[in-house]
Symmetry: C2
Subunit: 147 residues, 2 copies
DNA sequence: AAAAAATAAATCGCATACGATATAATTTGC
DNA sequence: GCAAATTATATCGTATGCGATTTATTTTTT
């Protein structure tokens, strides 16, 4: 035990978080390629599949992303024909994103993705629930700092 | 409960993993800026602070990264004067990375980083240990697929 | 030992993420 | 009612990460 122990890779919590996150994105890739989506595009679509109309601002809040990531990404989803992007009529500062018909249909092709990913993670129900709770605890605590 | 439940954002385990990982990288940024390191560069330095000489291959295995990420990153660390990069004499396929004197000294300036980050995460010891174990379980199970 | 296979890096093209800054639209304060 | 402050996007520059491919080197096979 010396003053450098905190700098050992094996004592980091952040490193496995970072690595697991990368790992999962890698696992998603072949599944999402079939839908012509990246992982970030996929979570945007997930929001829209639940709520057909959102502003860029709302998306950012829910996904912890900002315009520097979202603006270009939404343009790409628009280019693919999955969403339409327009200014809000009553307040032109807002960008409103809505699902196109193609985007709505994509939902049916996406239903197989979550179970496929679940297989690659392979946690017990208890572990998954606990992990879920801890992660959201961390997110909740840091929520304010970034808006 | 319908067939689309699996596609709800709130039912994803991957999304909070991804978001927490991004969050942590954001929290590291101001701390690491002072050391002129990015997060990925920082974990490479952590490996080297424990083991003064490693090959790019070994680094990739330990950090779950490949040459497409590492080659350029190591060049940057070399440009900053923190490491030196050279071909292995006995087998020129390998790239060997060693700490420079500057790189060694950086370790003393880095000791404050882990406790600062720990504050922003704010988990109990039990939670941290449990989280750690689950994450490494996931990493272990997926280790083989990517080398 | 020459050809073939294997291995480790390097390179390419693409899509994030980030802070910082700029722009455009609306609201607020006086 | 108009200048100032606020708000929501857009833009810029930098650094990853990824799969796919290429290059360089070594080992294996015949």
């Amino acid at each position: 035990m010396d003053k450098y122990d905190g700098l050992k890779l094996e004592n980091q919590l952040c490193f496995p978080l970072y690595s697991v996150s990368n790992l999962i994105t890698r696992n998603y890739k072949p599944l999402l390629d079939a839908l012509d989506l990246t992982y970030t595009q996929y979570i945007v679509m997930m929001v829209l599949w639940e709520k057909e109309r959102v502003t860029e601002k709302q998306l950012g809040k829910q996904l912890f992303l900002k315009s520097n990531t979202l603006t270009l990404l939404l343009q790409k989803l628009s280019d693919k024909g999955y969403v339409s992007v327009a200014k809000d009529e009553s307040d032109a500062r807002y960008v409103v994103i809505t699902l196109t018909e193609t985007g709505k249909k994509l939902k049916d092709r996406a239903v197989d993705v979550p179970p496929s990913i679940a297989k690659t993670i392979n946690l017990s129900a208890d572990e998954a629930v606990y992990l879920y709770k801890i992660l959201y605890k961390i997110l909740e605590e840091n929520k304010d700092e970034k808006v």
